[in-house]
């Protein structure tokens, strides 16, 4: 038995381009499945967003229970060190292409928790973020606007945070290991 391919080699780059890529992006932008993980307080506004009043399903978005089927992870607000570890694991289990949406002021520069010993200050040191939605907490309309913008970026092929994560994995890993002291996670060596 050889070594597991998934663990040791970087995923192959997509080689096709042109019209196929365009169709791909068009389809991807219109069915974004969001992994159901309420990492922080912003999760309370995700519920109205995804239920009857604001109804994000109009835009092809819905909640899904497992990370393997999801395209988007929403980091809803501040992240504690303990949750960051779980978010990284969830993110790495998701299938590419995958996108990160950060809600609120806290993941940008710490927000009101800038002096807290347990909440991280900048999320983009640890994960590649595609869309920032500001506000504390962002209203459902703001979240929808953010997702609309994400769809436009995917349509244009510009939402490539997941590629950045593969290319600069060492840098991201270094940052992650700096704050997660006891690294007991499966290591993806690509």
């Amino acid at each position: 038995m050889g070594k597991d391919k998934f663990l040791n080699e970087k995923p192959e780059k997509l080689t096709y381009s042109g019209v196929f890529k365009k169709i791909d992006n068009w389809a991807r932008a219109r069915s974004l499945w969001v992994v159901a993980y309420g990492t922080g307080c912003g999760a309370i506004e995700l519920r109205p967003t995804f239920t009857s009043r604001f109804d994000a399903e109009r835009f092809g978005m819905r909640m899904v229970g497992t990370p393997r089927q999801a395209d988007v992870i929403v980091v809803s607000g501040y992240l504690t060190v303990k949750t960051l570890k779980r978010v990284i694991r969830v993110y790495e289990q998701m299938q590419s292409p995958k996108y990160v949406v950060a809600l609120g002021a806290c993941p940008i520069n710490g927000g009101m928790y800038y002096d807290s010993y347990n909440a991280i200050n900048r999320l983009d040191l640890y994960l590649p973020v595609d869309i920032w939605v500001t506000g504390c907490m962002p209203r459902p309309e703001a979240i929808l606007a953010g997702f609309k913008r994400l769809q436009e970026l995917i349509d244009d092929g510009k939402a490539d945070g997941w590629k950045k994560y593969i290319e600069a994995l060492d840098w991201y890993r270094g940052n992650q290991r700096k704050i997660i002291k006891n690294w007991r996670m499966p290591n993806y060596n690509w």
């Binding site: 109205p48 990370p67 949750t83 779980r86 010993y117 347990n118 909440a119």
Partner: protein
């Protein structure tokens, strides 16, 4: 090997848990033989941060302690500081606070009523519950400017007076919600599956209630008339006319009944508050809040949240910042001490309804 026990982690990324927490269980077949709650995923060190901030700056922090029901926190902290600094607040402020608290309880109960159905896979009431809750959030938005976090209750009263015509809109919304409730009942209460699964589920021994400090609807479902609004009235609750709701089943079904009746009670109380709302000032003059110093002292204030007794243990040391504010969330006991014992012997499929029935709110456990 069929009798071997399986270790399973439920959460933190799991649609069935009520927030960012996780439960570790040992399974024998379908039955749970051991359970442990893991918390700490939402620990933002509020109590430490409050030590570094002046009193008035603590208010944007405390409303984030329990996200769906933020006003209880503000009211508790404001009342505690008023008691320590010896400030009397105007009568109208008390009534406005009571109105806000009761509205906040009502929106949480409606969301919960949908949520208990959702925890068993009945997803229509979830959509309704969150949709109908939005009507109350609209009222909050008109009153305070924010949907979820209000920062409306401050020491000395409330931030703004009620807008013109607000009372009528409150009453209109109450009529609307009352009209919608029979539809919920038809789907949830008259549902054979719900009845079969919830009746007799997870019975709590009666002696646990006093021993463990179980409060709120969970205690009331065990026949204990424990309601902070009645036992130690705060704000304007002593001028309102209501009885404590109790059921005698001790199981999840009784908790459902208690909360269903609490919705009716909340609507009734809101109508009563609106009809009795006095005229007058809504805010007393405080000293300059930037240099506000409170003499040394300690006090424990509590109020009735939807989940149980919510307490604030406040210490001041004569400076402009609190020495310590210890927040006692009801979920701390429900989520750790009670849940770990209650889950033993239950079916793995019933974990989600039990979690929702105890209404565990992780951010208030770890602050």
């Amino acid at each position: 090997m069929s009798t071997e026990e399986v270790r399973l982690f439920i959460g933190p990324q799991h649609p069935g848990v009520t927030g960012n927490m996780s439960i570790e269980v040992l399974l024998k077949g379908d039955t749970i033989t051991w359970a442990k709650t893991h918390i700490g995923y939402l620990h933002r060190a509020f109590e430490k941060l409050m030590e570094r901030r002046i009193f008035i700056k603590s208010f944007p922090l405390v409303c984030r302690i329990c996200v769906p029901e933020s006003d209880t926190n503000e009211e508790n902290l404001a009342r505690g500081l008023e008691e320590l600094a010896d400030i009397e607040i105007p009568e109208r402020a008390k009534w406005i606070r009571t109105l806000v608290l009761e509205l906040s309880r009502l929106q949480m109960f409606i969301m919960w009523y949908g949520g208990i159905a959702g925890s068993m896979g009945l997803s229509t009431p979830v959509q309704w519950g969150i949709g109908d809750r939005d009507y109350i959030l609209d009222l909050f938005e008109e009153l305070t400017g924010g949907r979820v976090y209000h920062i409306y209750i401050l020491p000395g009263g409330v931030r703004k007076d009620l807008p013109e015509g607000f009372e009528e809109r409150v009453l209109k919304t109450m009529d609307l919600i009352e009209r919608r409730l029979p539809e919920y009942d038809e789907l949830i209460m008259d549902n054979a599956v719900e009845q079969k699964r919830l009746k007799g589920l997870a019975p709590i021994p009666k002696e646990w209630v006093e021993e463990m400090g179980i409060t709120g609807p969970v205690a009331r479902a065990c026949g204990f008339p424990y309601d902070v609004r009645k036992n130690s009235p705060y704000e304007a609750y002593d001028k309102l006319d209501f009885d404590v709701i109790t059921e005698d089943g001790c199981d999840v079904w009784s908790m459902l009944l208690v909360r269903r009746r609490e919705i009716d009670l909340s609507i009734k109380l809101i109508r009563e508050i609106v009809s009795k709302m006095p005229k007058g000032e809504f805010l007393t003059r405080l000293p300059n809040v930037l240099y506000w110093e409170i003499p040394k002292g300690e006090t424990y204030v509590k109020s009735e949240a939807t989940r149980g007794e919510f307490g604030y243990y406040i210490f001041t040391d004569g400076s402009g910042k609190p020495r310590r504010v210890h927040v006692k969330g009801p979920s701390f006991i429900h989520g750790i001490t009670l849940l770990e014992r209650l889950l033993v012997g239950q079916n793995i499929a019933d974990v989600a309804p039990i979690l929702v029935a105890l209404q565990i709110c992780p951010p208030e456990m770890e602050r």
